[in-house]
Amino acid sequence: MPRVLVVDDDELNLTTFERCFRRDLVVHVAASGADAIAVLERGPIDVVLADYSMPEMDGLKFLGIVKSRWPNTGRLLVTAYLDMGPLDPELVHHVVTKPWDREDILERVRAARISSP
């Protein structure tokens, strides 16, 4: 099962994610970018899903760190904004809009896992 790490400052989103995907994915959660980095340091993760708007470290900043330190990890950005503007496809493999769709997430995780070398 793909190992994913979800980073979101809204705890309800984290528990929802775990509940939805407990049979399909190995779900790790973190409530902030710093916590998430600690999780990544503990063991390998296939794909990270980072919420865009978080206090202290936003999703893009976090994905930047992931890209430089764990370049083989797939990187998805989760956001409520429809207009994120042009994003660097090397940094963000895909943007998922909230509220997300279960099937869409599964597909994106699979794709991100394959596309990350």
Binding site: D10, L12, R19, D83
Partner: protein, 474 residues
């Protein structure tokens, strides 16, 4: 108002004013003559009883001419006609007395003074152009001189010279009075006309200001609502996400538990049966799925509103391209027509439009929203007309339907977010607000044609911002 048109407007107003003024003056003068004739008759009988009957005929003839002039004055429409009739009555009066004077023996001076009333009357009542006044006076004086030449014996040369001197001076003074009256009247008229023009300009300026203010208030209200919506949209996305995505697992849990409970029911202990009854588990098993389905539907509705709000906030980006609005309009209408029953007729009329810098997808959304509103308005049967053309520097698209039209009370709020006349659950009230926002971003406008008599007509105005000016294509 530019000066030349103001000057010609002034002349027009002045001549219209002059017709009424001169008619009133002439009618007053004519009535004066008619009223005074019997008095003068009494005067003749007292002073010149021998000449009374002859004079009465002359005075009666004068009165008759004056009455004819009165009728003519009432009917006259042009200034020239009024002046003809008033000159005629003045001349008749002057000629009458000029023809009487040479026959008088005893009271020559008194009649000369009476004669001078013609000049004073004209000078005080009429504001004719000086040349006309002078002409009338000269004619009257000529009659006086002519009368003297015909009857040289009655008055002495001194008397005649004195009367001529007196009447000539009266004519000069009256001429001066008449022409100054004319100048004063003209000056007063010009001043009041100017004041009227200024008032008019002021009024229209105030009206424009009021309208601009209303528009400003409306757009400020809308943009404040827009900011609120953006925040709201963002704030509710997490809770909506949680609600939506927990419903699936929750339904799964419920189904699993229900299956287990139904299987275990026959083997339950008496105590468990009591608990079962207490909590109405039979009912709960039946109702649980329905309650979850209701929640699912409700979340679905929230998501629709949320999606609408997001569509509303979308497109703030500056990505514009040169496109022909007609292409998008045609394909939007074609797509829309597929969703219509055959009882709704669609009429399309397109003039060639120039390319313009715009967000074509956004404009298509405007058209689609208007078309969908039109469809909702005509319900089962009716007609929807789409027209596109250029008007000055703008592209104009009209969407007209044969529905019941927009109720006047709803008109001021038509473009407010969340304002809807549709049934609950049928419309979020964001369609026209979205259109408004999009047109604002394009520097254009969308409005309801309030003068359109039947149904509703929406007017979309888009300024042509030509990347390649003059590139007109069908």
């Amino acid at each position: 108002m530019s000066p030349p048109s103001s000057a010609s407007a002034l002349e027009q107003a002045w001549s219209a004013h002059a017709v009424e003024r001169e008619r009133a003056a002439a009618i007053t003068a004519a009535w004066l003559i008619v009223v005074l004739v019997p008095l003068w008759g009494a005067f003749d009988r007292l002073l010149e009883p021998a000449l009374f009957e002859r004079f009465l005929v002359l005075r009666a003839a004068d009165a008759a001419v004056t009455v004819a002039a009165l009728v003519g004055l009432r009917r006259a429409r042009s200034l020239a006609a009024i002046r003809r009739w008033s000159a005629l009555s003045a001349l008749a009066c002057g000629w009458t007395i000029a023809s009487m004077l040479p026959q008088i023996h005893a009271h020559y001076e008194l009649y000369t003074v009476g004669f001078s009333l013609v000049f004073w009357g004209v000078g005080l009542l009429y504001a004719w152009p000086p040349s006309r006044t002078a002409a009338v006076f000269l004619l009257v004086l000529a009659a006086h001189v002519g009368g003297r030449s015909a009857n040289p014996a009655n008055a002495s040369t001194e008397q005649f010279a004195g009367s001529l001197f007196y009447l000539g001076s009266a004519a000069c003074v009256a001429l001066f009075v008449s022409s100054s009256r004319r100048r004063l009247e003209r000056a007063a008229f010009e001043a009041s006309f100017e004041r009227e023009v200024q008032n008019h300009t002021l009024e229209s300026t105030i009206l424009t200001l009021q309208r601009t203010q209303e528009q400003l208030i409306a757009s400020e209200k809308l943009s404040a609502l827009g900011r609120l919506l953006a925040q709201l949209s963002h704030e509710i996305s997490n809770p909506v996400n949680v609600l939506k995505n927990n419903l699936g697992p929750l339904s799964g849990y419920a189904r699993g538990m229900a299956a287990v409970l139904r299987q275990a029911k026959p083997e339950l202990s008496p105590e468990a049966r009591r608990t079962w009854q207490e909590h109405e588990i039979d009912y709960a098993l039946e109702d649980c799925e329905a309650a979850l389905a209701d929640m699912g539907a409700a979340v679905g509705r929230i998501r629709t509103v949320h999606a609408d709000i997001r569509a509303f906030m979308r497109g703030e980006g500056p990505t514009r391209e040169a496109a022909n609005v007609l292409d998008g309009l045609r394909s939007t209408v074609a797509m829309f027509k597929r969703s219509l029953p055959p009882s709704i007729v669609v009429r399309e009329q397109y003039a060639p439009l120039p390319s313009t810098s715009c967000q074509p997808g956004q404009l298509n959304q405007v058209f689609l929203n208007l078309l969908e509103n039109a469809r909702d308005a005509v319900r089962e049967r009716g007609e929807i007309a789409i027209e596109a053309r250029t008007s000055g520097e703008n592209i104009v698209v009209l969407v007209t339907d044969t529905g019941p039209g927009v109720d006047p009370a709803s008109r001021p709020r038509l473009f407010e977010p969340f304002f809807t006349t549709k049934d609950v659950g049928k419309g979020t009230g964001l369609g026209l607000a979205v259109c408004y926002e999009i047109m604002q971003r394009h520097g254009g406008a969308i409005s309801l044609d309030e003068s359109y008599p039947a149904g509703a007509r929406f007017v979309v105005k888009l300024p042509v911002v030509a990347p390649s000016a003059g590139a007109v294509q069908g």
